[in-house]
């Protein structure tokens, strides 16, 4: 492996571990108080919280019933903390993108650059959330007002609504894709989020095939991984005594999360490559097709003018 290849590998691993590590810690911080609340209720069940997983669900529903007051409070708290940590998560994301963008740079430099990007990432995130909310609100109002049920039977009317609802769902998804492309443009050198947005839209408009080629695997892979884990762990009865089962489930779940982060990191590598190819293209960005595969050339090969010298 060449030095550059080694740098890229290390950079990818760092980016993955940054995001995965943050996600594990954030999830633990969010989950712990709620889990502790339910755990306290379950402490007196036969076998402790094992009982919550027994077939039949008697103890599970009992815990939820008895937790009628504390559990919703704990969940509300978890939601607030989760939202805050999701926002803070923009920082490790920015650092990860910097690491991917400049594989040979030091981690400290990536952290410094990531911190500098954080405010702009926050603005882009807020704009995206607002746009997605607007789309969902508008779609709900329009779809709710359509009078399908007056001339179609229940099934056909609902089916048509689902088909139509796929349009705003795709728009919401596309807004998320645009957000990622904007982040990549920002890391690749765009000075502000508006020009980055324009460049991202130009990429989306003129190179949709390249975007889709890099997007499909992480988009489909993540839910498939989660579904696969759901079915794979079904056969492991954690209501039975012993630490082996729950440990196995824990490892499987964490592998799924790690896999999802790896897929998403691959997407970001592709987004950065698209941003850099557009930046180095003297024309409209169409003349050059880098044909970058998921594991292909990465933006580290194109050192921008502000990259630190090694």
């Amino acid at each position: 492996m060449t030095r550059r290849g080694q740098d890229r590998f290390v950079a990818s691993a760092r980016a993955v571990m940054l995001q995965y590590g943050y996600r594990v810690v954030a999830a633990f911080v969010v989950a712990f108080p709620a889990a502790q609340t339910i755990g306290k209720i379950a402490a007196s069940f036969p076998g402790g919280d094992r009982a919550l997983f027994e077939p039949g669900g008697f103890y599970l529903l009992e815990a939820l019933r008895l937790g009628g007051a504390p559990v919703p409070g704990a969940l509300e708290g978890a939601a607030v903390v989760g939202a805050l940590l999701a926002f803070v998560g923009l920082f490790p994301l920015a650092v990860a993108l910097e690491v991917l963008r400049r594989p040979s740079a030091s981690l400290a430099d990536a952290v410094r650059r990531g911190a500098a990007r954080f405010p702009t990432f926050a603005v882009v995130g807020a704009v995206t959330v607002l746009a997605q909310t607007a789309v969902i609100t508008l779609a709900s109002a329009v779809l709710g007002a359509l009078p399908f049920h007056s001339f179609l039977n229940e099934r056909n009317a609902d089916g048509l609504l689902v088909v139509l609802a796929a349009v705003p769902a795709l728009v919401v998804f596309a807004l998320g894709v645009v957000e990622d492309l904007v982040r990549a443009e920002l890391v690749s050198g765009a000075e502000a989020w508006v020009p980055a947005l324009l460049r991202a839209l130009r990429t989306l408009r003129f190179r949709p095939g390249d975007v889709l080629r890099r997007l499909w695997l992480p988009s489909l892979g993540a839910p498939l991984l989660a579904l696969g884990a759901m079915f794979a762990t079904t056969g492991i009865d954690v209501s039975r005594p012993g630490a082996v089962r729950i440990s196995t489930v824990f490892v499987m779940h964490q592998l799924v999360v790690l896999g999802i982060v790896v897929l998403r990191t691959g997407w970001f590598r592709g987004a950065l490559a698209l941003a850099d190819s557009a930046a180095t293209d003297p024309g409209d960005g169409l003349a050059v097709d880098l044909n970058v595969a998921m594991s292909g050339p990465v933006p580290g090969e194109i050192e921008p003018h502000d990259a630190p010298s090694e």
């Binding site: 039949g56 599970l60 009992e62 229940e154 729950i246």
Partner: protein, 696 residues
């Protein structure tokens, strides 16, 4: 305690004869479908049904009489009454004006005074008047809108135009009808009609009646919505007169259902040609002419008649267990119809084996359109309504559950015709238990929710409902006395079901099922009360179980086991000063010698006044366990155990037998609470996925 009351001679004789004489048509082992099929094919149905040597139910039970002993003869179908004693029969014609949503009705009611006293008056229930204005008992109740989510938007009513009794000189007795309900001047659903002369005990009178019904937009169960019609409680219906001459009549309350006498129904429905009709009974005649459809439905041994009509109904027809099952459902609900048929097939076999075979040749299941859910989830003789979104059967067992519940009512309401107004737990509660049993037999532990890694039993949900209403009142009380429908639901449906499930788990499933089977068979075509039910439980399951059921349902008793103060200490050898043979000896403490034995102790309290035996599992540090039983006597039992390993945990009711326990979270006492690692693992993973999906 139970008094042995012999069967009436006629029935005792016929029980023997009918088992041998099969050439008459129906034997007691053939299904009722066969009976009616033979009867219809030979046009001798009435004669066949009236065959002298068929056991008939007698209606002699009174609440103030000691419940009779039933006996093992009713543990199977051999002694099953084949027919009800006919008290009131209706021959009616109804013409539907689909545009005006009105019904012009006329016909004949034949009523026999089966009581021991002359009847100087009749009581009619005119249920449609519940929707006449917002001052009626039904609509002025804050719960009158519970099913539809709104009150009446188009009023409904029933106007009786005449009621002539030929046996009384052809006088129109309706001229003497009260204008208002007996005890409610703002209500017109419960009307007394004074007769020119009393009807003598045993005498039968004929009432030629005509009326006009305006159907309401469906508020609850009955009426129209758009072009869909669900027509229940639509004709002038006689109240039931008990053997002691007491009329059981009541204005229509939104939380109450009904109570009527058995009889024969012969109803001709005249509707627009394009409507598909479903109704109680067997369709014996069908004519289409001049844009109208006339269908005639006949059935014996029932106590109500309902029907539906809708142009868009699709239909599935199948003969299951000798019963012609007809499912009417909206377009696009094919999977729901399949699930319904599967549930009916399972239910007919399951309930038939448990509570006596289904005696009718037909069953119609109506799945209302999605826009009329208030018509769903209701039982009538040989006709039930279900209801669910078109996709329900693809993702859940809800369709099967509601079907099995309503089908269960064919036994606990239809055949065992308890007073639903006075004792709703006897129909809804017993049906809920039956439904749970049938669902568990059909779907196993995941009969409530079945997802990868998550199985929820329907009883777990019922237990929650029952426990949350544990101290809020007595189960066995009239429907109108419940402060809300949710309270009625928690107590009447859930708590009764869970009390019975507790009996099954503590005293044995087989014993309880035998008791319910004996009760259902003995009181088929009859009108038992709570005491009769308790008496059969006592007879079959035993005094402890019967006292438990009586306490839990009739007396509002509750139970909550609590384990606390778990201690484990090393057993020490004797130490100190001992006088032996006049000599005082000093024995020094030596813990080391006694260090390999432990004494463990835990206190188990029984809070509440409902006594039930319970197991207690004691767990030791080396992982070993012992199980001890407490008969539940007293308020506290101290469990002391000598062991080689220290006691670390005690679990009351480790196998979850006492489902009615108010609080399961205080059933355990542990030396050192374990960390909730499983919950934390799942919660962390869930948040990780959410952060990935919703986060940056």
């Amino acid at each position: 305690m139970a008094r042995n009351v012999p069967l009436p001679p006629a029935r005792a004789a016929c029980t023997v004869v009918a088992a041998a004489v099969t050439w008459l048509g129906p034997s007691l082992s053939t299904t009722h479908a066969d009976v009616l099929a033979q009867a219809e094919s030979s046009s001798t149905r009435t004669a066949a049904l009236d065959a002298e040597c068929m056991p008939r139910a007698v209606q002699t039970l009174r609440e103030d009489e000691p419940p009779p002993s039933v006996g093992a003869a009713f543990d199977d179908d051999r002694a099953l009454p084949a027919h009800a004693a006919t008290v009131v029969s209706y021959t009616l014609e109804a013409k539907l004006n689909a545009e005006a949503r009105t019904i012009d009705g006329k016909g004949t009611i034949r009523w026999k005074n089966a009581s021991a006293k002359p009847a100087p008056e009749l009581y009619f229930h005119l249920y449609l008047n519940a929707f006449k204005n917002n001052g009626t008992l039904f609509l002025r109740s804050p719960f009158g809108e519970s099913r539809s989510g709104h009150g009446a938007t188009h009023w409904g009513y029933i106007d009786v135009t005449h009621a002539v009794v030929p046996e009384m000189g052809g006088v129109d007795i309706w001229a003497n009808a009260a204008a208002r309900s007996t005890d409610d001047p703002d209500d017109e659903t419960d009307v007394a009609v004074r007769l020119p002369r009393p009807v003598a005990p045993g005498e039968t009178i004929t009432i030629d009646v005509a009326w006009k019904s305006q159907l309401p937009e469906i508020v609850e169960r009955t009426g129209y919505l758009r072009d869909f019609f669900m027509v229940g409680q639509w004709f002038p219906k006689l109240a039931r007169r008990e053997a002691d001459g007491t009329w059981v009549h009541f204005p229509f309350h939104p939380e109450s259902e009904f109570y009527s006498d058995f009889g024969a129904y012969d109803v001709t429905l005249d509707v627009p040609e394009n409507l598909v009709v479903g109704a109680t009974g067997v369709r014996t005649d069908e004519h289409v002419a001049a844009g109208r459809r006339r269908e005639r439905y006949r059935i014996d041994d029932v106590h109500d008649f309902a029907w539906t009509a809708w142009a868009s109904f699709e239909e599935r027809d199948e003969t299951l267990d000798g019963v012609r099952v007809r499912v009417l459902f909206p377009p696009g609900n094919g999977e729901n119809a399949d699930a319904t048929l599967a549930a009916v097939k399972h239910g007919l076999a399951f309930y038939g084996a448990a509570y006596g075979r289904y005696p009718y040749p037909v069953l119609t299941v109506v799945h209302p359109p999605e826009y009329a859910p208030a018509a769903g989830g209701m039982e009538y003789p040989t006709l039930i309504t279900t209801g669910a979104p078109w996709y329900a059967a693809s993702f859940s067992s809800f369709v099967e559950r509601i079907t099995l519940h309503e089908l269960g009512h064919q036994w606990f309401y239809g055949l065992v015709a308890t007073d639903e107004h006075a004792w709703p737990f006897l129909d809804e509660g017993l049906t809920t238990y039956a439904e749970s049993s049938a669902m568990r037999a059909m779907f196993g532990a995941g009969n409530g929710v079945h997802l990868p890694g998550l199985d929820i039993d329907g009883d777990a949900y019922l237990r929650n409902l029952a426990a949350s209403a544990g101290h809020d009142g007595i189960v066995a009380r009239p429907a109108a006395q419940f402060p809300s429908f949710s309270e009625l639901g928690s107590l009447v449906y859930a708590r009764t079901g869970i009390v019975l499930d507790t009996v099954a788990r503590v005293w044995g499933q087989a014993a309880l099922d035998r008791a319910l089977g004996r009760y259902a068979r003995r009181y088929r075509f009859d009108h038992p009360g709570p005491k009769h039910f308790i008496a059969v439980v006592r007879e079959v399951v035993g005094d402890d179980a019967a006292d438990f059921v009586e306490g839990a349902l009739l007396e509002g008793k509750t139970v909550d086991f609590v384990a606390k103060d778990l201690e484990a200490t090393k057993t020490r050898d004797k130490a100190g000063l001992f006088d032996r043979n006049g000599v005082r000896e000093t024995v020094a403490p030596n813990e080391a010698r006694g260090g390999d034995r432990y004494s463990g102790q835990v206190l188990v309290y029984r809070h509440g006044n409902l006594r039930v035996p319970v197991d207690v599992e004691l767990r030791f540090a080396d992982g070993s366990t012992v199980k001890r039983n407490w008969d539940g006597h007293g308020e506290l039992h101290t469990f002391v155990e000598q062991s080689a390993s220290p006691l670390v945990a005690a679990n009351v009711d480790p196998n979850l037998r006492v489902l009615i326990d108010d609080d399961l979270a205080n059933n355990g006492a542990v030396k050192k609470p374990s960390f909730a690692s499983r919950v934390l693992e799942r919660a962390t993973y869930l948040v990780e996925l959410l952060l990935g999906a919703l986060g940056p």
